[in-house]
């Protein structure tokens, strides 16, 4: 996030410490303490996993802790990706990654990541047009991005929301899908195609002509929706970019970094939980961690997470210091984090034996968040496919 370079404590040396300086360290430590105190696993379970039938059979929306969210806003986390000019207190991308990693570790249901993603996109739109919206975000308005068609293509150019000029604004028609935390968002940052190009428009959740159709998903800690636009009017002041694809693509490395950070946090919880279980659960007269069939997979999970976290902070630092190379690094981080999280989830359920397979244990909450997160913006193999074109060159 280029804006952070003006204020990050560490931009100059970012290639040595990933831009993770004192400010970022302090921020991460606060986040870790705060969530540890305010959002223990028991609270999570109570909040999202108290009644399986409610969510899965009756399709009721999973709840999130709005009171906790207010505290998060008060701590200024929603301003961390907002330039000072818009009332934010930006930190290095590595600092954002660390906070998001902590929310992943606590499987926190919240619009934080989505709101950060919206800020990242707005940061790469026209500054004057974007500023008021960024100011709103800095002061607690929630937001999320809507860039994906209903086949789940991650190519911005595939967007299927049509924008037709109307006065000095536009009318929007069409569909965009896989919108994260839609039920928690006040604003949608929407990529739309015009006859000649693409625009980015900001749409209020209560706008006329917008239907938010919630998806029925496995993940208990997120919500996801499909947005239907029916001749929805966008005023000129809500058009924040007239070069939409470029704006989305400029923000994309940051979006991938946030997704990877969440997965690293999720994987870390799975690892620590499984390690503890393997240390205490006795079978065949030994704690099961005694057996290499348990110990070695846990070590492999550790190695995968270590790799993913290193690539994560490396990518984060490049978003700040060397945007040209950030996309490849971010894809590596997302690929490694997706694979680490799904392997960690897999081994967690397997090594917990019967109990991990039941609703009585919390593993399923993280298993589903990992499964959801690895699919978002493309899983490990998808990222590698994109990387191959950079690394090896296109197929002749």
């Amino acid at each position: 996030m280029t804006t952070s370079n003006t204020t990050s404590s560490t931009n100059t040396s970012s290639s040595l410490d990933f831009g993770f300086g004192e400010v970022e360290t302090e921020l991460r430590d606060v986040a870790r303490r705060f969530l540890g105190d305010q959002f223990p696993i028991t609270t999570l379970r109570e909040l999202v996993a108290s009644d399986p039938e409610a969510v899965y059979l009756r399709g009721e929306p999973t709840s999130w802790d709005k009171q906790l969210w207010t505290q998060i806003v008060d701590m200024g986390w929603t301003g961390l990706a907002v330039p000072e000019a818009a009332g934010g207190t930006p930190v290095a991308m590595a600092g954002l990654a660390a906070v998001v990693e902590e929310t992943g570790f606590h499987a926190l249901p919240s619009p934080l990541t989505s709101t950060i993603n919206a800020s990242l996109v707005l940061n790469s739109c026209e500054p004057d047009a974007a500023r008021p919206w960024l100011e709103a975000i800095a002061s607690g308005t929630t937001a999320t991005i809507a860039t994906t068609d209903d086949t789940g293509s991650w190519q911005a150019a595939h967007c299927t929301v049509k924008a037709t000029p109307d006065g000095d604004g536009y009318r929007l028609d069409g569909v965009t899908a896989f919108v994260q935390d839609a039920a928690k968002a006040d604003l949608f940052v929407v990529l739309c195609q015009t006859d000649t190009s693409h625009i980015v428009a900001v749409v209020r959740a209560d706008a006329e002509g917008l239907t938010v159709a919630p998806n029925h998903i496995h993940d208990l800690t997120r919500d996801q929706a499909t947005l239907h636009f029916d001749s929805l009017l966008v005023e000129a002041n809500a058009v924040v970019s007239t070069n939409g694809v470029a704006a989305i693509e400029a923000a994309w490395p940051g979006v991938l970094v946030m997704a990877a950070a969440d997965l690293c946090g999720v994987a870390e919880w799975l690892l620590q939980t499984t390690t503890e279980y393997a240390t205490n659960r006795v079978q065949f007269d030994h704690p099961i961690g005694f057996f290499q069939a348990v110990k070695h997979p846990i070590v492999n999970v550790t190695i995968d997470i270590a790799r993913a976290r290193s690539l994560l902070y490396h990518a984060a630092s490049l978003v700040d210091s060397n945007p040209a190379t950030a996309l490849a690094a971010a894809r590596m981080a997302k690929s490694a984090a997706s694979d680490a999280a799904s392997f960690a989830a897999d081994r967690t359920v397997q090594l917990h034996g019967g109990i991990g397979f039941t609703w009585e244990h919390d593993a399923h909450i993280y298993f589903k968040r990992a499964m959801h997160g690895q699919a978002l913006y493309g899983g490990g193999q998808y990222q590698r496919q994109q990387l191959a074109n950079t690394l090896i060159g296109p197929i002749s």
Binding site: N215, H286, A293, W359
Partner: protein, 401 residues
């Protein structure tokens, strides 16, 4: 993949089955059926499926290869034909999956004439629903580590203990039960009982919720439960041997259920169809050679499972020291798991959708199948323990404990 050559009788039977299914398609179920019979929990679906199984049994589509004296069709090599036709027709699976796939085959091998006469027909017709009592909370992965005790008392046994993972426990009339009848020997101290469940005194059934949010399996406690000696299967102290028969029939079971989720070849076909119908950045996933390679890897494993089963019947080609694992639980359960995981990856963002979402591919099969697959890699001896057993009993490696 290719047909196997049929005898004249088998060809006739195939035509008959096709015709019968055409003429007797059941009506739509009362509500959307879960992915396999093991997840069925509501009474209306239970009754619907039981009735359908009864019809198919009367028509001779179930138990085709069982002797007629035990309520079977007395045919040869016809069950796989019936199963294939049932899968192809996409009709509902049969309810009594444990009875068909585990209880009946085991009783046929180890039962007395009386036991076969008493238990097999009801298992085939679905009138008697069965459940499995192998797993225990403290036994964990170690199937032989049974704590449930049965003590001989005249011509009956008194059972006390605690079983988990018992699918259909809430419907079941009978349970195939392993209990410890002697403390002196680990394996030889086990015996195998056909134990009454529904409404039987001292039996308590408590439903458990799975990670998917579905119920469908239970824990069952036994408090001085009386089982007649006549219900001991295979003789006292032979429980381990009898249980091995049951576990080796497990694949047959899931096939018999006609669920495309568990027949390896059909699983591969399902993956191919998913890849063809899923778009990735505007192109069908079936055009992505990495996904093609992964699907073919599974096709090879699937064909391997089928040919392993076939080779295990050819004595001259099983003289190798490692013939036993060919039919082992570990390969088929891990195949199911990795195939389901691959399905989740192919589905991409669509894999986030629960089965009730109208856009969920294959009615939400893949993520649910993936989560449920841990049932098969954990229950009745985890894959880790299976590998110990293979290493120690097949290859003669030193015991790991």
């Amino acid at each position: 993949m290719k047909e196997q050559t049929l005898t004249a009788d088998q060809a006739d039977f195939q035509r008959y089955v096709r015709q019968w299914i055409e003429d007797n398609r059941p009506p739509a179920p009362p509500s959307r059926l879960p992915i396999s019979a093991l997840e069925v929990t509501n009474q209306a679906q239970h009754d619907y499926l039981q009735q359908w199984q009864g019809q198919a049994y009367e028509a001779g589509l179930i138990g085709c290869d069982y002797p007629t004296e035990y309520g079977g069709g007395g045919r040869e090599g016809c069950q796989r034909i019936a199963n294939r036709e049932l899968s192809r027709a996409g009709v509902p699976y049969f309810l009594n999956i444990i009875g068909l796939g585990m209880a009946a085959p085991t009783i046929l091998v180890h039962g007395t004439h009386e036991q076969k006469t008493e238990f097999i027909p009801g298992a085939l017709s679905g009138e008697d629903v069965w459940c499995q009592g192998f797993s225990e909370p403290d036994a964990g992965s170690d199937l032989a580590n049974q704590r449930t005790r049965a003590v001989r008392d005249g011509d009956q046994w008194i059972v006390n203990g605690h079983k988990v993972w018992t699918s259909h426990g809430h419907f079941a009339k009978w349970m195939i039960l392993i209990a410890r009848t002697s403390q002196d020997h680990k394996y030889e101290g086990l015996s195998y009982f056909l134990c009454p469940i529904a409404g039987h005194e001292g039996v308590t059934v408590r439903p458990l919720v799975k990670m998917t949010g579905e119920s469908g399996f239970n824990e069952i406690t036994f408090d001085d439960v009386v089982v007649p000696h006549a219900n001991l299967l295979g003789g006292e102290g032979n429980g381990w041997a009898v249980a091995m028969t049951t576990l080796s029939s497990e694949r047959g079971a899931t096939e018999g259920a006609g669920s495309s989720g568990t027949n390896p070849r059909l699983t591969v076909q399902k993956l191919v169809d998913l890849a063809r119908s899923t778009m990735r950045d505007g192109r069908p996933a079936s055009d992505d050679p990495v996904i093609r390679d992964a699907i073919v890897q599974h096709a090879i494993i699937a064909e391997g499972l089928n040919q392993n089963a076939k080779r295990s019947k050819v004595a001259a080609l099983t003289s190798h020291p490692m013939r036993v694992p060919l039919r082992s639980k570990v390969t088929s359960s891990e195949f199911r798991q990795s195939a389901a995981r691959l399905g989740v990856e192919i589905a991409g963002p669509l894999s986030t959708l629960y089965k009730n979402d109208p856009n969920a591919p294959d009615a939400g099969h893949w993520p649910l199948a993936y989560m449920n697959s841990y049932g098969s890699t954990i229950a009745a001896g985890t894959s880790e323990v299976q590998r110990n057993i293979l290493g120690e009993r097949v290859l003669g490696l030193p015991k790991s404990k």
